[in-house]
């Protein structure tokens, strides 16, 4: 009957284990850690229900092996939650504290419950078995989490791998636990069966275990990385936890609490050893934290300096606005150097500019900075500490600032300004406080340089936009097509340089028999030149209707321009009027390049004396201006151009000049005006070769055709 019962039980146990294995095999999540843990726990649970009492050594050993396996499985599972939290060790400590408190609570309540009911509840009672198993599973959960926390903290931030010591300790735990379990069979009467100090071997084993616990407890490198505030909280938490661990240990140790002992003597041993570990560990933490506390502030500041340097470098790569950066720089300077005020000055000629003033008024900051500069109390190479307490009164400096640190902002070996940090207390700057000011000054220097570079690139972009706009204005001002004239063949050419030069030409059809032509060059370049050009077009197009004489017109244009142009601007122009009836060309030159007149195989360079438009403030212009009138013959050519042609320069710095131009005209005079203009440009291009074009090139050619007129009359 007995054998039958056991056979049945074993069969049920194995088959149920089999079915659970099948279920868990179906779902393989997170590497099966949770499944393994649940599987072993269920196995343990079923085993416990079938064999509630550890009567023989075989049953006990299977029991203990299942206990160890489930502890191991849960440890593996829990550890994946503990590990990611290592960056916040304090929260891990608090978690383990909460679980310690939970253990305390459970043990107290259950031992109170069972002492109430006395010994009436037998160990084999099914209710008792279920209840105790539940309690044990909760305790196993808490225990594995706590143990995992200790293990992870022990390994955290450790330079040498403490694996050996820790693993040895775990092995010792297991040996102590197994021994307790074996002995429990023999000495069930004694409450203290597991602490048999009369046995020498046991004493050695136990003290070795405690020694290893102690050695592992010394692995507390992570404390150094806490800030002062965290250290203070750790101090309080560790003392509470240490006490809690010792209480828990003594509760398990006490005779009142038998649940775990009955469940598994080995588990009880592991439990009490873990509590001893906790007790020792938190006592050690308490003292080490206590010793760390005085230096906590220094370490805090160092780490703050480090993080602010890191933050600043990050900020530098993202923000280019100097004001924004300099404010961050002065703020961090105040924090890191323990100052009350900080500001930056930038040299501006003989004066200074103040930036990012924090913790002090601008007037005071200005006064102090200027005093330090004028009294040579600053250095262009190193950080200087000055105490102003005694000289404040003498130089009527603001009373508030007692100590001041200054560091140079150096860009490309040139001093660009200073970073100041000031204290309003009598506390003198020590080296560790003044040194960071130098670091932040370097940052400020880089920020300054960045801002300058950015400004330059923005300026460049602005100039390019301006250039485009100027070019657009120029194109709109120039005539879209040449007028169709009965006596004139007209060709015009405009080749812009990279930078707008201010060239302008135009035709005005005054009436049936008269056509006016103008070529002009505005001084300067860019947008200013473009707008003056627009102005000039307006002036000439309106004057062309009023004045039928080129001299009168230029005099009128000059008087308008000299009042409207800035002092350094002027306009050169040639204005001429063709009269188709009289066959004449009447023109005047206002400081412009010569007019080239080709007639009867001869090239003439016509330069009537005059002053440029807008140059003269007296009436010299009117008095000196001369007009010329040419009687035109068939095929006579008039060439108007801007200095872009004759000043075209080759690689040897030679100019194209007038002579070459006249030569080309003379040689090609028989061609059409378009062909002549092409020839001129061909020659200019061959001449300059690879040199770039500096100025706009404008060319207007007019060929007189008498026969056209005759045709028209016919």
């Amino acid at each position: 009957m007995d054998i039958n019962y056991y056979e049945q039980s074993i069969f049920i146990f194995i088959s149920s284990g089999h079915s659970i294995l099948k279920i868990t095999n179906l779902k393989k999540m997170d590497g099966g850690k949770l499944e393994n843990a649940i599987f072993i726990s269920v196995l343990l649970f079923i085993y416990k229900i079938i064999f509630p009492l550890n009567e023989t050594i075989t049953y006990l050993l299977i029991n203990e092996i299942l206990i160890f396996l489930s502890l191991f499985a849960w440890l593996r599972y829990v550890s994946q939650f503990v590990n990611p939290k290592l960056s916040r060790p304090l929260s891990l400590v608090i978690n383990s504290g909460i679980l310690n408190a939970l253990i305390f609570f459970i043990i107290s309540v259950t031992s109170w419950l069972f002492s109430e009911s006395g010994n009436s509840v037998t160990n084999s009672n099914i209710v008792y078995v279920l209840f105790s198993t539940l309690i044990v599973f909760i305790l196993i959960g808490a225990l594995t989490y706590i143990f995992s926390v200790y293990k992870n903290l022990c390994f955290h931030r450790q330079k040498k791998n403490p694996k050996f010591y820790f693993n040895t300790m775990v092995v010792l735990f297991i040996i102590v636990a197994l021994r307790a379990s074996v002995i429990s069979l023999k000495e069930t009467e004694s409450n203290l069966y597991y602490l048999d100090f009369s046995n020498f071997l046991f004493v050695v084993l136990y003290t070795t275990t405690i020694t290893f616990i102690f050695m592992n407890s010394l692995r507390v490198a992570w404390i150094a990385f806490l800030n002062k505030k965290q250290k203070i909280s750790l101090l309080i938490i560790s003392i509470v936890l240490s006490i809690l661990s010792w209480i828990n240990f003594s509760l398990i140790y006490s005779s009142d609490f038998e649940i775990i002992r009955n469940f598994s003597p080995a588990l009880e041993q592991i439990f009490s050893l873990t509590m001893i570990y906790g007790g020792i560990y938190f006592t050690v933490i308490f003292f080490i934290t206590l010793f760390h506390l005085p230096t906590a502030e220094v370490i805090d500041r160092k780490s703050e300096e480090l993080t602010s340097v890191k933050d600043l470098s990050k900020l530098m790569s993202q923000v280019f606005d100097f004001d924004e950066l300099s404010e961050t720089i002065t703020n961090t300077t105040i924090k890191v150097s323990n100052s009350d005020a900080a500001w930056i000055i930038i040299n501006k000629g003989n004066d200074i500019d103040l930036h990012a003033i924090e913790g002090i008024g601008i007037v005071d900051a200005n006064k102090i900075s200027k005093f330090l500069i004028s009294s040579n109390m600053l250095s262009n190479t190193e950080v200087v500490v000055n105490n102003l307490t005694n000289i404040n009164k003498k130089y009527t400096l603001p009373n508030s600032v007692k100590n001041i640190v200054s560091a140079t902002l150096t860009v490309h070996n040139k001093n660009k300004g200073f970073l100041f940090a000031a204290r309003k207390t009598n506390r003198i700057y020590e080296e560790e406080d003044s040194k960071p000011v130098g670091t932040f000054a370097d940052f400020a220097a880089v920020a300054l340089e960045n801002a300058k570079l950015l400004e330059e690139s923005l300026e460049k972009e602005r100039l390019e936009k301006e250039l485009d706009l100027a070019r657009e204005v120029q194109y709109k001002i120039l005539p879209q097509k040449n007028p169709d004239c009965k006596n004139l063949e007209i060709a015009s050419l405009f080749i812009p340089a990279f930078e707008v030069g201010g060239d302008y030409y135009d035709f005005f059809e005054i009436d049936e028999n008269r056509l006016a032509v103008i070529i002009a060059d505005v001084s300067g370049k860019g947008i200013e030149a473009a707008f003056i050009m627009a102005h000039v077009k307006g002036i000439f197009s309106s004057l062309s209707k009023q004045y039928l004489n080129s001299k009168e017109l230029l005099v009128a244009a000059n008087s308008i321009l000299k009042n409207n142009l800035s002092k350094k601007s002027f306009v050169t122009a040639i204005y001429g009027i063709f009269d188709f009836e009289k066959c004449t060309f009447n023109f005047s030159r206002g400081g412009h390049s010569p007019l080239i007149y080709y007639s009867k195989n001869k090239v003439n360079r016509l330069i009537p004396t005059v002053i440029g438009l807008g140059l003269d403030y007296s009436n010299k212009f009117e008095n000196t201006l001369k007009e010329l009138e040419i009687k035109l013959n068939n095929n006579d050519i008039i060439v108007l151009f801007t200095d872009g042609i004759n000043e075209s320069t080759n690689e040897d710095m030679q100019e194209f000049g007038y002579n070459r131009l006249e030569e080309v005209i003379k040689n090609n005079a028989h061609l059409s005006v378009d062909e002549i203009s092409n020839e001129i440009m061909k020659n200019v291009t061959t001449f300059v070769k690879n040199s770039s074009q500096h100025d706009d090139i404008t060319l207007v050619l007019l060929k007189w055709k008498s026969h056209k007129n005759l045709k028209g009359e016919n």
């Binding site: 300067g524 370049k525 002092k567 350094k568 002027f570 400081g591 330069i607 002053i611 010299k620 000196t624």
Partner: protein
């Protein structure tokens, strides 16, 4: 980029500017600075020596126009000397000789100032 440089020295009450290289829209501000300095120091008698000048653009000419009035109002002037032919031609085309005094050499220009003072 072509370079430009201004050398300055005083001969009695007259300031002599030696302009070198290329005077165009890009280098004109340098010369403007020199003139601003002269006016700040109340030195209104200026002789500009063009001996080492390679090129002058319209913007370069504009600098003299911008300051000549101030100089003349303060009993001074801007006089030019040692111009090479091609540089002089540019001035000539614009009619500068009608408005400014040009001299062959520096001494002559300086003497002109001193003479005017005696008169």
């Amino acid at each position: 980029m072509a370079d430009f440089d201004v050398g300055k020295h005083g001969v009695g009450p007259v300031s002599v500017l030696n302009v070198k290289g290329y005077l165009d829209a890009h280098t004109a501000p340098e010369l403007e600075n020199v003139f601003n300095n002269l006016i700040e120091n109340k030195q209104y008698k200026v002789v500009v020596n063009f001996n080492d000048l390679q090129y002058i653009s319209s913007a370069g000419l504009g600098v003299f126009m911008a300051y000549v009035e101030t100089m003349r109002e303060n009993n001074g002037d801007i006089k030019f000397c040692n111009l090479k032919d091609d540089v002089y031609n540019i001035f000539d085309l614009l009619g500068f000789p009608l408005l400014y005094e040009f001299y062959k050499d520096e001494k002559e220009a300086i003497n002109k100032f001193n003479q005017a003072d005696k008169d």
